[in-house]
């Protein structure tokens, strides 16, 4: 069971500044431990949606750091808009989390 993401979406003017932290091992498939090589295991796809409409479709390799961070900006956003994020890894595990855009400061 994948862990929840931590997503923050803050309004700056009419742009939502979206910052996403995910928990994932992002294994390169070469790391050796006492029990052998840890298999390749990484997030391949991240989709960011604004009120249900895809604004970013990302493809990743195993070179993205463990416990990944993604920062994006969404134009034409309002306070209370929904930002949802879905990642899918090479083993088919996936996770979706959603937040409302918070008013800027």
């Amino acid at each position: 069971m994948a862990d929840p993401m931590k997503i923050r979406a803050t309004l700056q003017g009419d742009t939502a500044d979206v910052r996403i932290l995910m928990r994932h091992p992002m294994e390169t498939g070469t790391r050796k431990t006492s029990s052998g090589v840890v298999p390749l295991h990484f997030i391949q796809s991240v989709i960011v949606q604004h009120n249900g409409k895809t604004v970013l479709d990302a493809q990743w390799s195993q070179a993205i750091s463990q416990n990944p961070f993604l920062g994006v900006r969404v134009k034409g956003a309002k306070s209370g808009d929904k930002i949802s994020v879905t990642w899918t890894d090479n083993k088919g595990d996936k996770r979706t989390d959603e937040v409302a855009v918070a008013a800027g400061s």
Partner: protein
């Protein structure tokens, strides 16, 4: 909520920097990278992990940690970590955050102390230990508040002075005490900055940024781990978990770090 708000403030400043003209992006050596990492700290993922552990009924006695007294009364977490270490009458001892968690996990929840200690320092690239997540959750409840380690009980004075003594005590084949690496400003071991702990600002950084996400281990680490790793480099033997030695050093440093604003998790390369 309070924490979220202050974090959001920090974020808007950060966003400005990220789109600043290219001049900002050059001649930056290490600082730009450090700033970017601190702003979006994967260690935050551990706060909820610790929160779940804190409120779960666990251990042989099947109770949560809600009745644990961190010095402000049972269950009162706001600002409690910012005042640690302090004297606790029930154990008649000065305790830091981790030794206090050990106390509660044994006395309230019925865990076996040695078993807890064995697992207290998590393996890199895992979810880390329960202790690490709990320590971060409890400390996060002091975010935005000022470090305020007071000396009023005799044992607190004793711990402070013993910590100071240990800070300067040299031994072993490297002839190192703490002060050999942490007694001057702007020093580095290789590329890693060494905090100037005999200076107020340096002590404040120690007192306000642990537990921290340790980038090279991909997990959250606590002050006890930091001390363990220091004595390992100093070529001293294995430091036991939650001893008076660690508590004394932490009392010395945190008291000198008073008035720093708590901001955890920190980010350490």
């Amino acid at each position: 909520m309070e924490k979220m708000h202050s974090v959001c403030l920090a974020f808007s400043a950060a966003a400005f920097l990220a789109v600043a003209p290219p001049v900002m992006a050059q001649g930056n050596d290490l600082s730009v990278g450090r700033k970017m990492l601190v702003e979006d700290n994967p260690g935050e993922l551990w706060i909820d992990q610790g929160k779940d552990l804190f409120y779960q009924k666990r251990g042989p006695k099947n109770v949560s940690l809600e009745q644990c007294d961190f010095g402000m009364g049972p269950g009162k977490l706001e600002g409690a970590a910012a005042r640690l270490p302090r004297y606790f009458a029930d154990t008649d001892r000065v305790e830091d955050l981790e030794s206090r968690l050990l106390t509660c996990m044994t006395s309230l929840q019925g865990f076996e102390r040695n078993a807890l200690i064995k697992q207290a320092i998590g393996r890199p690239r895992t979810k880390g230990s329960d202790m690490e997540a709990l320590a971060l959750f409890v400390t996060s409840k002091s975010n935005g508040m000022k470090v305020n380690v007071t000396l009023s009980h005799q044992k607190e004075y004793d711990a402070y002075k013993a910590g100071e003594y240990i800070f300067y005590r040299r031994s072993g084949q490297t002839d190192f005490g703490c002060v050999q690496c942490h007694g001057e400003p702007d020093k580095r071991i290789r590329l890693q900055d060494l905090l100037h702990m005999t200076n107020k600002a340096g002590a404040q950084e120690v007192a306000s940024t642990w537990p921290a996400y340790r980038g090279a281990h991909y997990i959250v680490r606590t002050m006890q781990w930091r001390l363990n790793d220091c004595v390992w480099q100093m070529r001293l033997p294995d430091l036991k978990y939650g001893t008076d030695y660690s508590i004394a050093l932490t009392t010395f440093l945190n008291h000198r770090g008073n008035d720093a604003v708590m901001n955890v998790p920190g980010f350490k390369r």
